[in-house]
Symmetry: C2
Subunit: 343 residues, 2 copies
């Protein structure tokens, strides 16, 4: 970034005009977008799914190693992931940001490049938001809107006993990306001469900085006519999420350690940091894969999809929530997901 | 507040359970509320209106003189005002908050009492949100959802030449409430012994701390079968809002100073502070009244409603945007509304 344009040179309305000047609307349901008191959308007989997330600098992200473009992309993906977790398709977004005068117009533009890249990739329309100054730091609030055919949405509370527990993609990578970036930050702060070598950890860093949402799974369900019996997105680690499904569905579960999908790159990174890859998958966070349950008769359809792993089954409530290790030992699953209030 | 319960004693999920334990759903359109990845709403043939606001401590509010309950109430009202400004009825809310460990569970409860009071008053359902810690200060993001019959929503861009310009309630009060509270804060900081006497300025302080949204106007339009030709809510002062309508509708306007509704309490407060009440109405903010235009033939219906003032008319673009003072002089209307980036 060479140029630096002060936000105050545009003013609030000028900034909004600037940020939204190239908006393309992609959905017929978007009746009215940015530029009025509120946006208007239509539904064509579908129901609407809504979710929102608040992301705060130095709580949810660290700008010393997070490019603003990736941050914008991720802020969208995190919310789309919640929409997909309802078996719905995202259609619109509201994005609000608050930022101090440390940020230039060029910096905010970079952030919005990420927002728009995610909008394009996932086919959603940016239809509104709010911009504000903050005394300190960068604050992001994203609300995502999606659509679903009535009674097709999938809750956490509807898993059945004996249902298969499945997840998409691979787990634990984002957490190791975070560990790596935090280590490099520490080294850099101690000795700014040392340039970090990020090449070896490209995969886990990418999982952390620029995750994708599991759109393909929802398309697959639609194509194969599968409706999961329950679903949740994996933002706080596998343990925390499966415990949510167990609690809401009033059931127990059994997970097999050797079935939990972990990428080779993640295993290698865990090895370097002397961490247990399974613990990273269970208690790390921010993978934004989907965890879901299906009836056993859907098994034949699932195996067609190499991105889906069957990792266990829903058990009777009195069986508890168990993980069976590679060595054949059984442990209780406990929630050690990220909890912003205890760190 | 006697008791102080630390947020960390509940954890994030515990806090969410605590805050949402008494939620009552009021709208048939609310299919699924708090407790899953996302909320689900239905529409019954109507379109959806969406708006969002980000409120940041010491930018948008000052907790030294803002009771948390009022803050919660106002955070909702500010958003509902945008929904009414589309001629729509609010139905659901998403509320996210970020706060530091300076806040106890009791403090957050007070804030939510205000949220729930507004939900009850305006008949809306709280269906989701996010809670987060912040390093410093209190951050609020509210998204409001409303419904409108297709093609009944009213934009800023559709005023016609010759249309009457009207507004609800009275203007300038909230700004004087702010001036008063800021003065009392300064006195208090200089001498904590002096107790502020708020009784005389109760009206303007109430306008600032606990505004209401113009629900009655939307009900009146429905009853009288009036559809305004354009509408906007008055959050940044009358000047800023009428200029938005002029710009979006590509027209000019004439406003008569003596027609601008200003309460006696507001005039008295302005007199004490040696401020011009008209300037407070034009350039103050946060009144959350509605500014709208109607066709001249609707005049007879409007005069039935004593809360509506007709303050001018939409003129040809070449006539400019003018205000005619009590003394008969004509001035250009300029935007001096609040701009968070230049204060």
């Amino acid at each position: 970034m060479d140029a630096r344009t002060e936000i105050s040179s545009l003013g609030e309305f000028g900034l909004i005009d600037h940020l939204t000047r190239n908006i393309e609307l992609r959905n017929a349901s978007t009746i009215l977008g940015v530029g009025d008191d509120a946006a208007v959308i239509d539904h064509f007989g579908k129901q609407t799914v809504l979710t929102t997330d608040l992301l705060i600098e130095n709580i949810h992200f660290d700008l010393t190693y997070t490019p603003l473009q990736h941050l914008g992309y991720k802020a969208v993906v995190v919310n789309l992931s919640d929409i997909y977790a309802m078996n719905a398709n995202p259609t619109q977004l509201l994005v609000s940001i608050g930022f101090s005068n440390r940020f230039s117009v060029e910096a905010i533009d970079e952030f919005y490049e990420g927002i728009y890249a995610a909008c394009e990739k996932y086919g959603v329309d940016l239809i509104g938001g709010d911009t504000s100054s903050s005394q300190k730091g960068f604050i992001i609030s994203v609300t995502a809107i999606g659509e679903v055919r009535p009674d097709k949405f999938v809750q956490r509370s509807t898993a059945g006993q004996g249902d298969l527990i499945c997840c998409t993609g691979d787990l634990g990578g984002a957490y190791l990306g975070l560990i790596f970036l935090e280590r490099e930050k520490k080294i850099f702060l101690e000795n700014p001469e040392i340039k970090p070598d990020l090449e070896d950890e490209k995969y886990v860093i990418g999982r952390m900085l620029r995750p994708e949402a599991a759109k393909e799974l929802i398309d697959f369900f639609e194509r194969e006519d599968i409706v999961p019996t329950s679903m949740i997105d994996i933002s706080d680690g596998l343990s925390s999420e499966i415990l949510h499904i167990c609690k809401e569905s009033a059931l127990g579960c059994v997970i097999y350690e050797d079935k939990i999908p972990i990428a080779d790159e993640t295993r290698n990174a865990a090895f370097k940091f002397e961490l247990d890859p399974t613990a990273c998958a269970l208690s790390g966070g921010e993978d934004y894969e989907l965890l879901f349950t299906v009836k056993q008769e859907d098994y034949d359809k699932l195996v067609l999809n190499e991105k889906i792993s069957v990792i266990g089954f829903m058990a009777a409530p009195e069986d508890g929530k168990k993980i069976i290790t590679r060595g054949g030992n059984t442990f209780d699953i406990t929630a050690q997901g990220w909890n912003a209030f205890t760190i």
